[in-house]
C-alpha cells in the first residue's frame, strides 16, 4: 500500500491494516475436539473467529492479536496458544 499525503484514506480502508502483527502468541484450534458451540467466536474482542463450512471455528490471523480469551472460554480445552516466531 503506497503512502498518501496526509495519511488520507477512503472509507473501509482499515481492513488493509493487518493488525495481527501485534501478536506474540497465536491460537491453534483443534477441530477434532470442537463441539461447534461457537463460544470462541462470541467472546473474540476482534470478531475475527469465523465459522468454517464444517461448522467448526478458526481464527483470522490477519487481525487476531493473540489475547487468548478463546482459549479460556473453550469448554473442551480445544484451543491452545503457541508462540509465534517472526
Amino acid at each position: 500500500m503506497a503512502l498518501r499525503v496526509g495519511c488520507v484514506a477512503a472509507p473501509g480502508r482499515a481492513l488493509e491494516n493487518k493488525t495481527g502483527g501485534w501478536r506474540v502468541f497465536k491460537p491453534v484450534f483443534d477441530p477434532e475436539n470442537c463441539t461447534k458451540c461457537g463460544m470462541c467466536a462470541m467472546v473474540c474482542p476482534e470478531g475475527c473467529v469465523r465459522e468454517t463450512e464444517e461448522g467448526t471455528f478458526e481464527p483470522d490471523l490477519d487481525y487476531c492479536k493473540g489475547c487468548g480469551i478463546c482459549v479460556e472460554i473453550c469448554p473442551k480445552k480445544g484451543i491452545r496458544m503457541e508462540k509465534e516466531e517472526k
Binding site: 499525503v5 488520507v8 477512503a10 472509507p11 493487518k18
Partner: protein
C-alpha cells in the same frame, strides 16, 4: 505608498488581501488587535470569509484544520498559552499536511504568568512540523504572510506555517508599512488550489491510523517536505522581491558580516537593536556583524555554516530556554558549526519582556570575545 500603522493592523490588512475563506481565532494578549480587526473586516463585508467564534484556541485551530481539509484557505492567530493549548492540533495539522498560516504574536509562557515578549511559545513547537518564520519589523511581518501562504500551498510542500513577530515590541508599535493593493496580492498569491479535500460525494478521512509498518515513513515524508520548503521559500522570497522590491530569498541574512571577527546570531525584532549596536561598535573599530535567522524551521544549518565561515566567535541571542539545556537557537547553531573550530556562545536574554538596549548587545560581544558564555545575560542577582 507607506502608511503609518500598528503592527497588528498591518497583519490584519495583509491577511485580508490574502483572501482567507475561513478565520477562526480566540483573542489573547498581545494577539488581540489582529483578530479584532479581522472580525470587524468580516462584519463590514470587506472580507468574504466565515469568521468562526470559538471557546478556546484548541477549537480555533481545530476549526481551521477542518476548514482547510474541506478546501478553504484558512487563517488564525495566537500566542503563548493559546499556542500551548493548540499543541495537539499543531502536530495533527502538519501530519495531515494542511497549509494553514497562523500568526504568532510571540509571548512568554507561564508560570509565572507574563504577557510580555520572548519567543518561548513558538520555539516550543519547533518539532511540530510547522514552518517558522521570524520577522524583524512590521513590514517584514506583513510580507512574510504572503510568502508563507505561497510556500505552504505549494503541492510539493503542503505544510502549515507560523509567521512570528514579537508581542508588543511589534504588535503594538506603529511603523511605516507599504501595503500592496488587492490586485498586487492577487497577482502574487493565486487562489487556493487544494491538493485533496473533503468531499461528501467522494469521502476521505485525513490523518488515518498508521501501523508500525507505515508510521515512520509518514514522518519521513513530512521531514522531506520540510527540507524542500527551504528551496520553496527561497523561490517565493525571490518572486516577492521581483514584484514588490523587497527581497526575502534568504533564509538567513547577514549584516556587516563580510569582514567580521565576531558575529551575533538572533531572530525577530531584537535584530534591529543589534544592527544599531553593531553600527556603533564598528565606529569604534570593532569588527562585529549579525546573522539574522529568518526561517527557523526548516532550520538553515548549511546556510548558517556558510554565512559564518569567516568569523572566529559567535554569540547567539536566545529569547527562549530549553530548560536544562540552554537556548534552542544556540544549541542548533552549535550543531550547525560542529567541527568548524568557531567558538560559539549562547546567551539567554530578554525573557518575559526584559528590555534589551544597545549597551547590552555590546556587553554580550565583550563576554563572547573573552570566552564567557552559555549563560543568562542580565540576571538581577540581587533578587535571587
Amino acid at each position: 505608498m507607506l502608511e503609518f500603522m500598528e503592527g497588528s493592523h498591518a497583519v490584519a490588512e495583509i491577511v485580508k488581501r490574502c483572501r482567507p475563506q475561513v478565520i477562526a481565532a480566540y483573542p489573547i494578549t498581545p494577539q488581540t488587535h489582529i483578530v479584532e480587526d479581522l472580525a470587524q473586516m468580516v462584519a463590514n463585508c470587506e472580507i468574504d470569509a466565515e469568521y468562526i467564534t470559538v471557546e478556546s484556541e484548541f477549537s480555533a485551530l481545530s476549526a481551521c484544520l477542518g476548514a482547510s481539509a474541506a478546501g478553504s484557505r484558512v487563517y488564525s492567530a495566537t500566542t503563548s498559552q493559546g499556542l500551548a493549548l493548540m499543541f495537539e492540533v499543531c502536530f495533527n495539522a502538519a501530519g495531515m499536511r494542511q497549509p494553514i498560516v497562523m500568526t504568532i504574536a510571540n509571548r512568554s509562557l507561564g508560570a509565572p504568568l507574563s504577557i510580555w515578549n520572548d519567543q518561548q511559545d513558538s520555539i516550543s513547537l519547533r518539532d511540530s512540523g510547522w514552518l517558522q518564520f521570524y520577522a524583524e519589523d512590521n513590514q517584514e511581518t506583513a510580507d512574510l504572510h504572503m510568502i508563507a501562504y505561497k510556500v505552504c500551498e505549494d503541492h510539493d510542500i503542503l505544510l502549515p506555517a507560523f509567521v512570528c513577530f514579537d508581542g508588543f515590541i511589534l504588535t503594538h508599535t506603529f511603523e511605516p508599512v507599504a501595503l500592496p493593493t488587492q490586485e498586487e496580492v492577487d497577482a502574487y498569491l493565486p487562489a487556493f488550489n487544494p491538493y485533496q479535500r473533503l468531499d461528501a460525494e467522494n469521502p476521505l478521512s485525513f490523518g488515518m491510523y498508521a501501523t508500525p509498518e507505515y508510521y515512520m515513513e509518514f514522518r519521513y515524508e513530512v521531514d522531506q517536505a520540510m527540507q524542500r520548503a527551504k528551496q520553496a521559500f527561497v523561490k517565493a522570497g525571490r518572486e516577492f522581491g521581483e514584484q514588490f522590491g523587497r527581497d526575502y530569498s534568504a533564509l538567513v541574512e547577514g549584516y556587516r558580516l563580510e569582514d567580521a571577527d565576531t558575529a551575533l546570531v538572533a531572530m525577530g525584532s531584537i535584530c534591529g537593536t543589534v544592527k544599531d549596536a553593531i553600527d556603533e561598535m564598528r565606529e569604534n573599530g570593532r569588527k562585529v556583524g549579525l546573522l539574522k535567522i529568518r526561517a527557523y524551521r526548516p532550520f538553515p544549518a548549511r546556510e548558517i555554516a556558510d554565512a559564518l565561515k569567516g568569523v572566529s566567535t559567535v554569540a547567539v541571542l536566545d529569547k527562549n530556554i530549553s530548560l536544562g539545556n540552554g537556548g534552542a537557537v544556540g544549541t542548533e547553531v552549535k550543531s550547525a558549526l560542529y567541527g568548524s573550530g568557531i567558538s560559539v556562545y549562547d546567551y539567554i536574554i530578554a525573557l518575559g519582556g526584559r528590555d534589551v538596549r544597545k549597551k547590552d548587545i555590546a556587553a554580550v560581544v565583550d563576554l563572547a570575545e573573552k570566552g564567557k558564555g552559555d549563560m543568562f545575560y542580565g540576571l538581577r542577582t540581587e533578587v535571587l
